[in-house]
Structures are given as C-alpha cells and as structure tokens.
C-alpha cells in the first residue's frame, strides 16, 4: 500500500474535464486506487463516485493505491493534479 496527500490547485477542482481525465488515468493501472477527502472515500476509477464526493480547489485529498503498480499509480495521479490538468 502506498499513499500520498496533495492539495487541489486547479480552479474547477475534480469536476467535469479534470474528473474524466483523473478517472481515465487511474483506470490504466492494475492497483485498486482510492481517493479520500475529509474521511469520505471514493473509488478513483469510478466517475460517479468521484463526482459525488465533490472535490474543489483548495481541498486536500489522499490518494492510496494497493497492488503491483501502486507507487507508479500514486505518483502519476499526483503529477496530474500538480499539472493543474493543464488549466491556466
């Protein structure tokens, strides 16, 4: 198991396009991946559960992966959030 926390920096948060990109990226990995906010947890490969958690700019989330590619998975998703999903 490997996890890391990060603050969401892009304006839209994990909604609309960023949410879709996040889920698509997570789906590429074999590990089970979860995203956690204020003790609420969502499956990072589920667009419906990610959207219903409502992650906005400024929120801190914890990304946890369990599986053979857990390190790679968390690193990639953290990087994606750091890149602000290429928003301005």
């Amino acid at each position: 198991m490997y996890s890391e926390s990060i603050e969401i920096q892009n304006k839209t948060g994990l909604h609309s396009r960023p949410a879709a990109i996040f889920v698509q990226t997570a789906t590429k990995f074999k590990s089970d991946i979860t995203i956690e906010k204020d003790s609420k947890q969502a499956n990072a490969k589920s667009i419906l559960s990610l959207l219903s958690m409502g992650v906005s700019m400024g929120n801190t989330v914890k990304i946890t992966a369990v599986g053979e590619d857990e390190n790679q998975a968390v690193a990639t998703l953290i990087e994606l959030i750091q890149s602000k999903f290429k928003e301005e």
Binding site: T12, H15, I47, L51, G54
Partner: protein, 580 residues
Amino acid sequence: MEYNGIIGSDGIVIGKAYIYKKEMMIINHNTIDESDLNEELNKVETALLLSKSQINEIIKQATKEFGQEEASIFDAHMMMLEDPELITRIKEMIIKEKIHSSNAANKIIENYIGMFSNIEDEYLKERTADIRDVGNRLIRNLLGITDQDIGKLDSDVIIVAHDLTPSDTALMDKKHVKGFVTNIGGRTSHTAIMARSLEIPAILGLCNITKKVQNGDVLVLDGNTGSLSVNPNERTLLEYQDKIVRYNNFKNKLKDIVKLPSVTLDGRHIEIAANIGGPSEVDSALKYGGDGVGLYRTEFLYMDRDHFPSEEEQFEAYKVVAEKMEGKPVIVRTLDIGGDKKLTYLPLPEELNPFLGFRAIRLCFEMRDMFKTQLKAILRASIYNNILIMYPMISSVDEVIQANKVLEEVKSELRAKDIAFDEKIKCGVMIEIPSAAMTADLIIKEVDFFSIGTNDLCQYTLAVDRMNEKISNLYQPFHPGVLRLIKNVIDESHKVGKFTGMCGEMAGDPVATLLLLGLGLDEFSMSASSLLMIRKIIRNVTLPEAKKIAEHALTLSTSAQIQAYCEKALKELNLMNQEE
C-alpha cells in the same frame, strides 16, 4: 382540426403522422427467489452490453451527422456506463435485498442523482440529466423494452412525439423524416435547434398533440405560422399544396441572390451581416452571402468549459473567424456574461434582478485582467482582417471612456512588446440601455459606431421581462417609444458622419426591414438563415420609398398599428412575384 403551437423551424410540409411513443417503465417491486439470483445478475451484464452498443451507435451517427462536438455529450454517457462502481453496486443490491434488477438499478441511479443534486455545482446539476438518461436506458434494457425504431422508415413521415431527446434525433432516419411536432419545447429547445440544422419544419409546444393525432393521419405542418391541420378537407389541402409550391419556389429563388450585392433600387449599399457564436458558424454566414459579421458573441468561448480561455485560445478563434471572412468586417463584442449567462468556473452571487445586475462590461471592469486578456487577443487578431470592437451593456459615456482607457493601455503594452495590431481599429458601443440611446450624442464622440441590440433595448425600455410568458404581449419592438430611441441613435451617429447597425432579432424580421431602412439604419445583422430574405426586400425598394414608410409609421400611436402598417407595406412590394 387545427392546432397552434410555437414555431421551431420554418417551412411547410404535408405528410402522414408517425406517433413516436415511449413505453412506460414499470419497475418490478417483488422480491426474487434465491434460485433466480443468477438470472437477475446475468440480466445486468446483458443490459449493460446492450446499452453500451446502443450508445456506440449513437456516437457514430451523431459524429457523422452533427460533428464531434454534438457527439461528445454521449461520451459522458459511455463513461458512466463503464463505471465499475455502478455495476458492482447494482449487483450487490440484488444479492443483498433479493430484488429485481430493474428495481435495484433504479434505486442506485436515484441515489446518485440525490447525491449530485446536494452538491452546489452547476456542472453537476447538468450531469444529473445525463445520469437520468443513461439510467433510463439501462432500466429499459433490463425490462426488455424496445423503443420504436425510427432509424429505418419505409416512407416519408412527420414525427409526432411528446419530446425528442438528443439520442432520438441522432438515430432518426433523416431521409424520411419531413417534420417534427411535439407536446413540449420552445424555440431554443434541443428539438428546435435540430430541426433548424436539418432544415425541416417543426412546431413545438402543442400540449397533448400525441393524444389528438393518430398514426397515419394526414398532417399539414405550417412552420411559418405555427399552425398544424389534422386531416384537413380537400380544399385546405389544395390550398396548402399551392402554398408549398410557391414557398419552395421563393426559397429557391432567394438562393439566386446569394452573390448579388445588398443595394436598394436607387443604388444605396446596405450592409447585411450575420450574428455568429463562433468559428463554426462562419461557414453558414458565408453560405447565405453575409456582407460581414455584425455580432460575434464571444461568450460562447467562455461557456461549455471549466476554465477561462487563454489569450492564445481566444486569439486563434478570432483569427479563424477573421481569416474566413476574407476582408469583410467582423464586429467582436467583448464578453457579455452575468445575468442569465453563467460560467461554471466563475461563481457569482445570486442576484434579485440579474438583468439589471453585475454583468457584461460592469463585470469586465471588476475583472480587469480577464478583460485585458480578451482585448489583447482581439487586437492581435486584427491584423488578419477588418475587426471592430464593441462594448456591451453601456449605460453612460463614462463607461465608454473607462473601457477605451483599458483598450489604450493594452495597445501600449502590445506596442512595447512590438506585437502588431491594426492601429486604426474601430471601436463601438452596443446600444441596449435606454439611457445610452437617449445620450447617443454624447457617446458617439468617444466611438466610431453604434449597434442597436433590440432584444434588451425593448425589455429595458418597456420594462418587460422577455422570458415572462404572461406579459409577452407587452414585448413590442414596434412600440413608438422604442422606435423613437432607435431613430435618435441613428440620427446622432449620422450627424457626425458615423454609422449605426442593429444586431437584435428585429434586424432579421422582414416586417421591420422597410421601417428600419427608412430610419436610416446602415447595417442589419441577424442569424444567417434570415440574410437572403432581408437582402431581397432591400433590393426591391428605393431609399426615398422606405423613408416615406418610416415617416408615416412614426405618426401612428400604437405598436399594433405600426406593425400592421409595416406588414401592408411589405405586402405591397409583392416580393413573392418579383423576379431578380
């Protein structure tokens, strides 16, 4: 029998009714036996596969017929169906509660909708409609309901439906569908927009027309007047057949004037331009022979996305429009949001009177960086063509001075960086607030032109909310008060040798053309599909004739009198029988 509804798309057609009805979903609430468990779980897999293949088909059709953008909403549908959690939760519920698959799916979908609607976010609220659409598809497939197949029809029909969803119109057999009539919907509903882009007539908002019409009934659909005749008598039918021939001839003849100049009989050139929302609409503006773009609504660049467009993105869009118009003028209106036009990524406080509130130029002054980014992009694109800048929602001259100051600032910044732009770029004001119309003489000193936005000018002058159906009879563009303001604006611009255009609905209304021409309007800007009709009128009248009509109209007291008089004047031109 005759029924009247809302015009969705113009044109006249006679055809057989085809009732498109969706079977009710009846959820099975009984519990199931342990032995049926596997069957229910298999049903979920099968229904899911079927739903995915249906959506794939829709994406294929929609991309082919309407383009990538229209099809992209179905990508979101696909993503939800592929959500691993959705399927797991449905299956778990079937096992745990021993209930039918349709019941479980329905409960899970409702649960998601509930969670979404609790979050304060415009984007998510829109997504609930998508979840409902996807959910209904899944549940119908679980129940084994097959919708009527309108993808392959044997003969020409007029579709009669409660409403049409994007999936319905995407899959429809366009070769045989000759018109739409629906129970609900308005001029801006999906069905209306589709009908116009397919160029087939449509009447909407006919209440319960699906109950009054039967399959195979003969329908006469007059999309020009909004009236639908069901099983008309021989005489009406003959009358309409004649009307169709004349209307189609007229439409075909209109096409002949695409390449002809917009000049009056006595040789005065009038600019007939198109209103566009973005680069994708330039082609139709050119197809109908637009002399330019009289209103480029830049807000669409800011909507349907989740962050502000960058200077580069905006520059690209403005440049594409400018280049495609090949030297013809393009009036770019700076950002007009706020009020009813919201951006998901720009939270604005709720207002009691959004139309009198924090919007357009008022908002741009507060968000100076955003405003400057847009002006920079417009200026940079100005080297590709004849671009003009227009400020919306101006109520007094000091706002114009303030906006010009920002513009000058941006210009010096560009100069300092040696970035090229059109140094002679013209700048104008959209006249849509009565105080601006009254003080046109003061404002014109600061700018090069005016463009009258009649929709808002009417609503502000007459104190009539144009969305409120109860008072729609009071929304009168031909009101003498509105006409006097229009006249004042035109006159003041002419006194100093400058020009006035119009970019509201009125500019594309044939009944108003002679009157506006007579008042001295220099430019008419409208949706592309109206261009040829207005040009036709202008080509068949002299300026002195139009002036006489306008002078007389201004002596009349009521909107109804003025409108009737203008209709009569238009009829006397006998355009239907005019040869070019």
